[in-house]
Structure formats: structure tokens, C-alpha cells
Symmetry: C3
Subunit: 574 residues, 3 copies
């Protein structure tokens, strides 16, 4: 008995139409995950291209240094360490020359069953080693989709000429990924061995690679808030190696701490850990937490502190993690979203492009971000978020919350900018502690200024001052935490444990320091006026340099500081 | 062969008597959970009243603004935002006018199976949608208690005239909670829809609601440490909306971060998440962690860092969470307490009143708390704690630990008060940074002073100073963390990671700042004495205002600051 | 078809030999866990000694105050509180005199089934109460090893004369651990009851006790970085009770927060929680986290933030935790290491000595540690680590990462030492805030100095200053966190959330403070020069003591401060 009021059923029909549309999206989403149109446009490939056509275009771009491959524009400033080859194999990996063996498929497994046995055990329990089990799946099985996936993989391999027309792929073993897929009988360990990069995975998993690579094309910013294609997993290595202080740091072992997350551009095992490549792992929030956590973007912590995270923590053990994301609620019994539920989804479809709904990009105080939040692009993406939330909440609820999130974040930006201006003015007035006496120049990759990014990772004498760091905190950490906690609905996170209360503290630190430094300067001036004229002539200097002799030996004179740095920069063997 | 020594068996008999008493409590606790006498007294209802009698008295008080319902005494200072209606539906919720449908029970489910499908899926797996399954439970099933519960619910509905004498409740569907329980065939979505508040749940779950509401009556304080009935879940919304800075904050989206926990007074789904209302979820520590965590009361973190939490983390997956709290150890295999084990228990019975054993209430430095710990009321509650712990530990062990907890907390209070006095004295001596030059008045809901609560969430110029925040930290965060970690037996938490080491740090910050500000003031005075007389006449002012011109434009003059605030306060439509 | 290149197969043969050697280690490790030779040497016991021979030698050393038993060298400074008896039963525990019962084995269980029922329930589900189930295990069962273990226990008991030659141990009940194993029919609760210490467990579990006790012998330091045998679980109580500020603290309840972890020397239930003594619990990371977490050594947090921890978090619920550590990957399906995997292992064998591969010992800035890292001993241990990692990674990968870890840590030490020197110089120049006016002497157990350990837990007036704490942070917390996060492969942990970014912040705080204090001193000097001569004669004092009168009453004069302390130190009843 659905009836209508004065509106003649318009709304009712609209509601039905909406429900139908959503149902249709759900059905069409079943058949095929989503590669955005933007990727085909960027690659100038037709959406109906053969797997080989798409593959070759993707790989050409992927391997092009001009489009982000390799050690980047600041390469002259840094050298890899021994471990770097595991983060950027294409640039730095070479097979170990100590192991001079030509081994068959079976011999790889045999030898490594003793040596590095863990690899083999994990592989043996993986889908890669059990393709026949997948072939036997029936439609009743919630993981039946894997059979379809395997057929798709074989289609790809045939298109690439790596599998016969009627040949079935027997397994994916060591030799397939580390030498070449389904191609060689044996290979030379000391010359042919490769450390698989994302393009190697793409040989079989073309759809997923294309989705991932499409992040380059959908991460677009109207006001150049970020460079085109960033931030994204597809260009995360480029983003780190082209960061000035990363390239300029002498302590390469510390710098590789950044690379240890920023390597998804180069490899797929950031989320799909070798050699199990478990989808169950990759579907759980902790898979993301490895990188999306911490002082500047506590995405995982914020999620876990939310009602959504609470459901995961208390009920997640009863959910079936073997089903696909799109079936997680219907077939898997899921009752609350994980990271993947919301961030892999776009307009009802699920895929490996995670940036199509990005609006704030974690850092609300970055130039242009807050302004851009009112743009048409941002409004479009906001609407996509409302659709995401509408899987479980009413559209009205979703819109009201997202509006709260935006306005709460903007309140933080206003407060943050007020405080940041005070930091900048103190710097302009040359009143930072030690600013005139002991503020050495940064590495040549960077230029000095108030609250600069390099100061998070480099320090010498009074560069940075705490005032610089308070300012940096605003931009990098405090307003980011405010937003991230709002975005993930973690109340304590945005109101007091992190977020607003921290922002007030930061604001207070800045105002306190500003008042003290200005009062000190004023007092120095008063004293200078009292001193005999001769001293007065040297007033400015003496005021600020009075303590120069007592700085504990850290005084730095121009180029002298650079000696230590140059040692790193001189590289003969390139 | 139990025999006796010189004592003639007195102690032995005492021990047996105690064991018997405890066993009896356990048995009587089985039959019926516990509604405290204080509630019946407060409502002037007889303990043998009919469900309707108890229900009506409870609801009358619950909905009475004079007894805490609605937006509170500071309502003139704030306006709700769009999202506020979900935290306080009784005050702010109105059905969406865009959906003009009159729908039956079945049509609700049908339409929402497409639109907001998550709701329906969760409900379908809930007890509410499967009452017949509950009716088929046999005494062997560890969840047999649910059958008894269902019979109790039906008794309540019959008493309220919502269920026929021989009628069985078929299900609890959308229409029951969002319109009226078991009453209407169809309802108008745009006019009749309600967002269920706690009193709606009370229609069926009277026992639980009565237990919850009894917190108002058992949270009593001999020395007015807290207002009557607080802190409690039953009045947690009142406690936030009547907090001056909460009402006075311009940034309503931030303020709603507080409300996002403080809404249990209004709704039950803080712990029993809609639309599964899973008891398994509500029995796990993470259900509490959503609110009981963070910088000022890390109850969850402290628990997880304890031996108890370790047991939960390592063995909890083997416990049967479907059994009632009282059966958790015997039938559920539980080997360590959760939050619920200790805080839902009182003298051997389990119920939704969680405040009957409260003594420290998280904040040991709040006025009166430490003094009250030696009161008779506190001693009585301490004894109840010993009984709680005695489920697994000897009474001697429990008493020794609780004594350690009390004395450790008191040591923190002594240290905290010593430092807080230094903060207050610096304020009284007008020596806080910027105190005379740039300390704007707070919003009119608050009054200025040293280390005031509003300073956690509001700042302008040099109000607060860091010294204020150091003082606030003592009261709000540091001594609280010390106590909470002691109370939950997290060693690192009370000795060094949080607690005592942080308290020493805070003390040191205060002493450092005090010395520096007083040395600066003394130096200013010495300089003033050296300056020509004319300047000297203006000495006090010039000393403190010397830098006034350089404050970066944040100088605030009287009422001018208030313009931004008043915008929020002018509300025409009330 | 393994063939060789120009090297004539040398490398290939080497690889085979290596694989064989590793396989052999794995096999020999199966039969028997590892008691290091160092223990037999230290005890002067032959490795083929009878259980009784080994047991008696172990217990003799264990109970010897000269070798670490009991309240230690600083015992005259402190008194136990009521709860202390549970951390050091051998020194402080006495049976409760209120319970005057002589009870049999069955009567213990009977009475405590009512009183402290939790104990009995946990015990009933433990191996101790179900020895017959263990006897029925067949070799197919992954926990079959427990049968072997039980036979070993019975051999030990027979050797000690506590079990007849053909007698089978029926159970391990209350009376066995709390009175004597398999010896008495009944015992007097008020006089004979004991709180089991580690030597009690050793009666049966000799192998595990010997392994644990061997930490005393393998924790050796070439440059006296630590005292012999420390840090270790075997002497962790000694290490705390002989820490000067621990013994000197007036707040004994706070001090017991340290003891609450540092009691493994005395008891085994830190990891094997009474009365389940579950091996599943002890095999999970959270068992370690209770102590190995927090501000100065976030071992657990670092692990959980790593790829290893991610695997545990996402897949751990599918691993079989009932199998032994050595079978965890092969039979248990484990895919990543836990704490136990790496720290219980040494050269392919698993045992309760966790310190044989220790090199950095968590605190890289402790004197001698960084220097020692290049020693032969350290190189040997590094090689043992490479072997550990080689269970899953190539040796080349392991070596590259461990090199990254060492160099990254050393980079932190260099930076830390530069900043620490500035702290020390400011102290030497007597320029710390309040250093000349309000720096009371520490408790007599300690001596004043810059950045002293006691300042983490004790403070009075301006002792410590924040500068002291900044320096302490470097040594105790910041460089430790840098290293621990590097060691556990938590990228954010070493690069920015903790570690390097924190170290830069700490460095900046120190440089900021140094500059400010020196500028203030210089300004004071300038003012003094301007003041009339008479004042100038008192220059030094007046400069620093100008604000003495206004210190809020916290001025301390010599011995007056000590009154409060002495109250604790005077102990008549010893």
C-alpha cells in the first residue's frame, strides 16, 4: 500500500528510480571492476583495446623516466644504500653474483625449500601454487570469482603471446615472476634473476594494474594544489625521491624510512605481501595501517577509534574475508566499512584506484586545498561520497555529516592560518631565537624560510627554531589530524585527544613564544639605549650576537657546513 | 579432612560462610539483574510496580527538561547544526519532507533493501528479525537467557497495552522503532517517522532502561564533587550541553565532537550499534573504547596494557561472547575481566548501572575528590571493589592492590597541587606571558582565570598562556592518566609512559616557566630603575606593554572580540 | 639440471652445503631446546649432569643474595608496601594468618571453587589439571610435544626424589605449587602456604628454568656497557631494586610500577599467566607487550607497525598457536614472525634465553653501546641475526637491512650526542634555569648532574630543568625509539612519527633553550655593567638570585628538604 500525498507521487517515483539506479549499478559492477575513462584518454587507447594493446601502453608510460619512473629529478643529490634495491629494483637491483646456478622451475623450489624456507611455504599455500583448486570452484563458493579472474589472466597471457591458445596455466612459480611468466625452462640465477616490479604483476593482473595506474589520471587538481597524478600510489616513489630534503639528507638510512612506504609505484607487495599475496590480508584495515598511520595522517588510528572501527574490532572475526569487496556486506556478513569499503569504491564499483573521491588529501592547510573544497570538482566528489555512505546511511545523514567534516576542518584552517601568520611575521622581523646568530643554511636542495618542510628532518644550530616547528606542526600534523579524525568519525580525535585541543595548544605555544621573543627584543633595545654611544653604534649586532662566543662550538660559517653534505653528492660511478 | 588449629574453627567456619554467601549471591543474580533501590525511592515507585507503572514514572522523569532533558540551561548561547538532530533527536529531529510515502511494515523493508541496503541486512541478522529462533532455544543453549528476555519483553508490551494477552510478538521491524511498537499497519514517512531515543527502546527493554536510568540516583557525592547523578551515562548529554565552553564555542562542528560521545542519555546505540544491536559487540572492550579512551581518560588503553587486557588480546578469540556477563567465566571460558566484567557488576549482580562503585571518577585533582576518598561512602564502594576482584583474586591481594592504587593516586595529587599553586601564583602576580598586554576575555559563557577548562578549546592572543595549559594538563590529563593506569593495572602507564614521569615533566615545565618569567620581570625592573625618571613613571605599563605594537595584529580591544561570537548567539527562531 | 658457470661449481656447492647445514640445525633443534654452554661453565656443572645436579646448582645460585636474590644493595633506603610481597614473595610473602585451615588437595579445590572461583576454573582448563589428556596425544597431534614434555617433567621429579620410579604424576594442583610438588597429603594454610617463585616452577620445568637462568651467563658486555648478566629477565628484579632513584623514591606505590614488570626474576607468571599457564598466550606478541612497550622501548608498537605485525594482525587468527615455536611456520601456518619467533631463536634452536643476540639493548646512547657495535662479539651476534632472518629472507636482504638498522641508529647517536653536549655545557656554565637559585639536591641515593636518570621520577624546584629532561629524552626515549623502530622495521616509526623527526625536535628544543638562556645571561651582564658599582660587586649573585623572593615558596635550604625523605629511610624493624 504505497500511496502518495499532495505531490502526486513524484518523490515516491524518484525514490524508486533512485533505488533502481543503485541496483543497476550494483549489478553492472559485478561483471567488471572499473577502469576510469581518464586512463584510456591519457594513454590514447580505446576502451575496447586488446589486453596487449592496453598492457603495452601502460608499461610504456610506467617505465618512462619523463613520466615518473626511476630516481627522479634530484638524483644528482643522493646515492642509494645497499637496501635501496629492494624499494626500487628497476633502478638498483642486480642478481647476486655469488649464486652461480642455472636452475629449472622445480630446482628453484627444491633449493629454496631449505634455504629461505619461509618463501616456499607461503607460496605453497598461495593461490599462485594452487590454480587447479581455483578451477574446481563452483558458483556456490563465495570465492568463485577467482575462477573468473584466472580465466581473465589466461586471456591476458594469450594476448601477450605467453600462453598457448588451448594451454592452461599450470602454476605461478618462482621462475614465472623472477624470470619470465610461463616462458623459460631454466634460468641463470646470477644474471637473469629479477626482483618483480609492478609491471611484472601486470603481465597477468592487467585489470588491477590499469586501475592502479589510473590514479595518475584521476588525481587532478584545479588549482595545482598537488602536481598532476599526486598524491597517489601510482606515483608515490616519484613523490618521495623528488622531495628536496629527502634527496638532500645525508642520513640515507633515515631517508629510506620514507621510501619504505613510498614504493607502491614500484612494487605491489606493499599490500599483497609476498609470497602469499593473500587477498584476506589486503582486505583488512591493518594492511593499510602500515603506511596510513602516524603523526601526520593517523587514518588507521582514526578509523579504529570510530564506530566503524569498533564494529571491525568486535565483530570482524565473524566476517568472511574471502569474498570480494562488493560482496562483503551481502555474502560476507560485514556490518561496517573497512578502509577498503569506502576508498576502493567509486559510484558503486570497486577497483584499485583509491583517489577518485579525494578532496582534502589529508593536509587541509596546504596552499589551495581549503579554497578548492568549494570547487565544482570537489562538489562532484562530495556527491560520490554521499553515494558511498548511502550504502548504510540515509543521504541526509551522510550529507549532514560530510558538511560537519568540511566545516570543522575549515574552522581548523582558519585558526591554523592565524597562528602561522604569527610565525612568519616573527621570522620576517628576524626575531626567531638565534635567527641572526646561529641559523645555518639548509642543504642546497632547500632554501631557508619560516616553517619549512625540510626542518622536520634536518636541523643545525638554531635552524629550525621551535617556532618553526610549531608552525610546521600546524600544517603537517595538527590540522591534518583534525581533518583525518573528522573524516573517519573519531570524536575524541577531532575534539580533544587530537585535533582541536592540540590546535589550541599549538596556537598557544606560538602566541606565548611570540610575546616572549618580542618582549626580550624590546628589553634589549631598552638596554641598548642605556648603554654608552660607542656600543650603541654596534647596537643591532651586539644585541643579537652577544652570546655568539658561548654557543658551544656549533657556530657555522657559510660553506663550511657543506663539506659533510658534498661527500654524499660526489658520485663518480654514474 | 578439614581440621582446625587453636582458633577452634572460627575462621574456617567464617570462610565457609563467606563462600556460601558468595554462592548465594551468584544464584540470586542469575534470576534477575539489578535495579537499585535508589531508583525506586527517587521515582517514588514501589519495587513491585507493574511494568507500566515503572515505565511511566521513568519516562516522565526522562523527558522532563527540569531533570535534564533537552538542550539545557545554556541553550541561549548555541545553535544546532544539521547533524545535531542525530545526537539529540528529541530536540532537533524532524522527518525528511522529501520522502512523501505512506508505507507498510513490508514496504519499509522492501524499499530500503535497495536504498541504504546496509540497514536492512544488519537488521535481518539481528535478534529483532529472528524472534522465532529465540523461541526455539532450549535450556542447553548458552543463549537460552534470550528466550526469558523475550518473554519479559512481551510482558512489558502487554502491560503497556501494545500486545494482546495471547499475542506473540512476531518481529521488531523498521516500523516498530521508527513509528510505534506493534501498533500501526502503515505510517507517513514525512510526518510520523521518528529517530528512536532511549525511551523508545524502554518500551520493550524496561529492565535495562531502568538500570541505566538508576545511574542518576546512585551517582551521589557527599561533598558535591560532581552534581547529583553525574558523571553518568544517564545524564551525559546534560553534562555536555551545560558545559560553558561547549555552549560558548563558535565552532559548533568541533563542539559536536564532544556530543558524539555524550549522547548516551538520548540514545542506546552508542553501545548497541544499529541495526544489529549485537550483544557480542556490546560485551567487548572496544565497544567502550569509542568514548573511554584518549588523552584525559585512557581507560581502554590502560586496560589493554594490563595483564587483563593481554589475556583478552591473546585468548579472547576462544571465549564465547554470546553468553551473559554472569556466565562469561563459567560457561564462556573467559579467563580475565573485560570492562564489562568489573563495571557492570555490583555485589555479584550485573546490570546497566555502571557508576555504583565509582570513587575517583577519573579526575583525582577535581575539588573534593581526593578528600572524599576517605569518606564512608568511598570505603563502602572500595569494599564492593574488593568483592569484584575476589572473583579471581584473594581479598588480601585485592585490598593490597586497591590500597596501592589509592596511595599512588594521592601521591600524584600532592605533586599536582604543588605545581598548580605555582601556576595560580604567577597569574595572581600578573606575570603570565602577555597577561597585561594581550589576554583577551573568554566567550561570555566563561570567566577568565588561571588554568581554566575553557582554555582547552578556546584561545585568543595570550589567553591561555602555556602556563595555563600546563596547569590544566595537571588536572585534566596527567593526574587522570596516572590514576586510570593505576586503576587498570598498567605498570608502564602509571610509572613512566604516562602518569608519574609525565607528572614530573609537567611539574618541571611549570617550575622552569615560573623561574624564567620571574627572572625576566626582575630584569625588567632593574632596567626600569636605570632608565630616566620620566620613563620610570610609566614603569609598570611600559615594562609589560613595550612590545604591544609588534604583536602581529592580534591585539584585541574589549568588545571587538565578541562580534564573531555574537553572530552565533543571535537566534530568532526559538 | 643444476649446472655451473666459470666458477667450477664452488658457489653452487657452497649453497648446497649451507642449505644442508641449515636443515641439520632444524632437525637437531627439534629434539631438544637449547641450554647454552655458558650456563654449564658458570655453574661448573657438566652438561651431562642429572636433573638433580643441574637443578641444585641452579637453585643455589638463584637464591644467593650475593648473586642477585632479594631486595638488593640499596635495601636500607626503602620499605616494601603491602603489595610488594606479590612481586618478591621470597623476601616479603607470608601466608594469611586469618585462614587457619589444614586442607587436603581436594579441599583446596573445593573451598576455592566458591571463594576466588576464577582461579579454579582457569586451572581446570589448564594442562596442569589434564595430564591424562596429554598422555593420550598421538604423534599426529601438533601438540604431541607436550607428551614428551610431561615425560621429561616426570624424569626431573624422579631425579629429585619427588616421584616414584613407576609412579605417574596425576595432576599439578593447588597443593603442588603452593606447598610442595607431589609430596604432602594436607598442609596448614596459615603457615605452610607459599607464593610460587620461579624455583618452584623449576622443580618440574628444569629445562625452561635453565634456559631462562642462562641469560645471566650470555648477557655479557666487552666494555661494561651493562653489568654482567643484564639486561635480562633472569636479573630484572635486581636491576630495578638496585636503581638508585627506585630505591630513593618516597612514593613507593609509584616505584612498584617499575617492579610490576621487573619481577620475572622472581616469578614465571609474567608471561605464563596463572592459573591457566597457557602457552598460546605466551606465544602471542601481546604477552610481551605488557612490558616491552611504551615511551622508551616501544618494541611491541614498532612490531605491530611493521609488515610482520600486519601479517599477525590480519592473518594471525588462522595460525595454529598450539604448536611449538619451531613448528609454527611448518605446522602452524604462520607467515610472519612474532616477537617469539626471532627473540627465542638462536642459531636455529628455540629456548627461554632471549638475550643471546642482543647488541643494542634498546638504548643506543648508553656509554659504550655504539662503540661496542663494531666489536667481534657484536659481529658474531649480527651473524646470528642474519641466520634468523634467513628463515624467510635471503642473506643478502637480511644483511642489507641490518646494515641499514645499524647505520640509521648510529646517525641518531651522532645527532643525539651533539645535542647532549650542549645540555652538559649549559650545566657546566651554570646557566640552567634556576640552577643557582632553586636546584635542590636529589635524594641521597643520587648525585646531581645534568640529564640524570633520577630526574625522570623525582623533581623539586628547578631540579630538573626542562633542559635536563630534553637531554634525558635523547638518551632514554628518542634515540631508543629510533633504534627500536629501525630494529622492528616500522618505517613511520624511525623516520617521522617517532625516531628521526622526534630527534630533530629534541635537538631543536635544546638549541632553542641554549640560545635563549645564553642571551638572557648576556643581557643580565649588560644590565649589571650599567648598574652602580655597589650592585656590580654583587653581580653574579644578584643576576641569578634576583627573583629568589618570588619563587612561590618552593625555595629549599640544604637539609630541610630531606625531612620528608628520611621518614621513609628510617626503618627500625629490619
Amino acid at each position: 500500500m504505497v500511496t502518495t500525498s499532495a505531490c502526486n507521487g513524484v518523490c515516491c517515483r524518484l525514490l524508486k528510480a533512485l533505488a533502481l539506479a543503485l541496483a543497476l549499478i550494483a549489478v553492472s559492477g559485478v561483471a567488471q571492476a572499473d577502469v576510469p575513462k581518464e586512463l584510456y584518454d591519457a594513454l590514447k587507447v580505446d576502451a575496447s583495446a586488446s589486453p596487449k594493446g592496453l598492457h603495452d601502453a601502460l608499461i610504456k608510460r610506467y617505465k618512462d623516466p619523463a613520466q615518473g619512473a626511476g630516481p627522479g629529478a634530484l638524483w644528482k643529490y643522493w646515492e642509494p644504500i645497499e637496501f635501496s634495491k629492494y624499494f626500487d629494483p628497476a633502478s638498483f637491483y642486480k642478481p647476486p653474483t655469488t649464486v652461480k646456478v642455472v636452475a629449472t622451475r622445480e630446482e628453484c623450489v627444491g633449493c629454496h625449500s631449505s634455504y629461505t624456507a619461509g618463501w616456499v611455504r607461503m607460496w605453497k599455500s598461495s593461490a599462485h601454487a594452487n590454480l587447479d583448486k581455483i578451477r574446481k570452484l563452483t558458483p556456490k563458493d563465495p570465492t568463485y570469482y577467482k575462477k573468473t579472474k584466472l580465466e581473465e589472466v589466461e586471456t591476458n597471457l594469450r594476448s601477450l603471446g605467453k600462453l598457448g591458445t588451448s594451454e592452461a596455466l599450470k602454476e605461478v612459480g618462482c621462475i614465472d615472476c623472477h624470470i619470465d611468466v610461463n616462458t623459460k625452462k631454466a634460468a641463470d640465477h646470477s644474471t637473469e634473476l629479477r626482483m618483480p616490479t609492478a609491471d611484472v604483476c601486470a603481465t597477468c593482473h592487467l585489470q588491477e594494474f590499469a586501475e592502479r595506474e589510473s590514479e595518475r589520471d584521476t588525481a587532478s587538481w584545479p588549482n595545482d594544489e598537488y602536481p598532476k597524478g599526486r598524491p597517489s600510489h601510482a606515483l608515490d616513489y616519484k613523490s618521495v625521491v623528488e622531495t628536496s630534503i629527502w634527496a638532500g639528507m645525508a642520513q640515507r638510512e633515515i631517508a629510506e624510512g620514507c621510501t619504505a612506504c613510498h614504493y607502491n609505484q614500484n612494487k605491489c607487495d606493499g599490500c599483497h605481501t609476498r609470497h602469499s599475496f593473500s587477498v584476506v590480508e589486503a582486505r583488512k584495515p591493518e594492511a593499510c595501517s602500515l603506511c596510513h598511520s602516524g603523526i601526520d595522517h593517523p587514518n588507521f588510528e582514526a578509523y579504529m577509534g570510530s564506530k566503524h572501527g569498533t564494529q571491525y574490532a568486535t565483530l570482524g572475526s565473524t566476517w568472511n574475508w574471502n569474498v570480494q569487496l562488493k560482496d562483503a556486506f551481502t555474502k560476507g556478513g560485514q556490518t561496517a566499512p573497512t578502509c577498503q569499503t569506502c576508498h576502493f569504491e567509486y559510484q558503486g564499483q570497486y577497483g584499485h584506484n583509491l583517489v577518485r573521491k579525494v578532496r582534502w588529501a589529508n593536509y587541509p592547510m596546504l596552499p589551495g586545498i581549503a579554497e578548492g573544497i568549494k570547487s565544482e570538482r570537489s562538489a562532484h566528489r562530495l556527491q560520490a561520497w554521499v553515494q558511498t555512505c548511502s550504502n548504510c546511511h540515509s543521504g541526509r545523514f551522510a550529507s549532514a555529516y560530510l558538511d560537519l567534516m568540511d566545516k570543522g576542518t575549515l574552522a581548523g584552517v582558519v585558526k591554523g592560518n592565524e597562528a602561522l601568520a604569527v610565525v612568519k611575521k616573527l621570522y620576517d622581523d628576524k626575531l626567531m631565537p638565534g635567527q641572526l646568530t646561529n641559523r645555518p643554511a639548509p642543504p642546497p636542495t632547500d632554501k631557508d624560510g619560516p616553517a619549512q618542510f625540510f626542518q622536520l628532518f634536518w636541523s643545525k644550530g638554531n635552524n629550525p627554531s621551535m617556532m618553526d616547528l610549531y608552525g610546521l606542526d600546524l600544517v603537517e600534523n595538527v590540522t591534518s589530524k583534525l581533518h583525518v579524525n573528522l573524516a573517519h568519525v573519531n570524536p575524541g580525535g577531532w575534539a580533544y585527544t587530537q585535533g582541536w585541543e592540540q590546535l589550541n595548544r599549538n596556537y598557544t605555544e606560538i602566541m606565548d613564544e611570540d610575546t616572549k621573543m618580542r618582549e626580550m627584543a624590546a628589553l634589549k633595545d631598552r638596554v641598548a639605549k642605556l648603554e654608552p654611544k660607542r656600543t650603541s653604534l654596534l647596537n643591532l649586532d651586539s644585541t643579537h650576537r652577544a652570546s655568539l662566543g658561548g654557543l658551544g662550538g656549533v657556530l657555522l660559517l657559510g660553506g663550511a657546513t657543506l663539506i659533510g653534505w658534498r661527500r654524499r653528492w660526489k658520485k663518480s660511478d654514474r
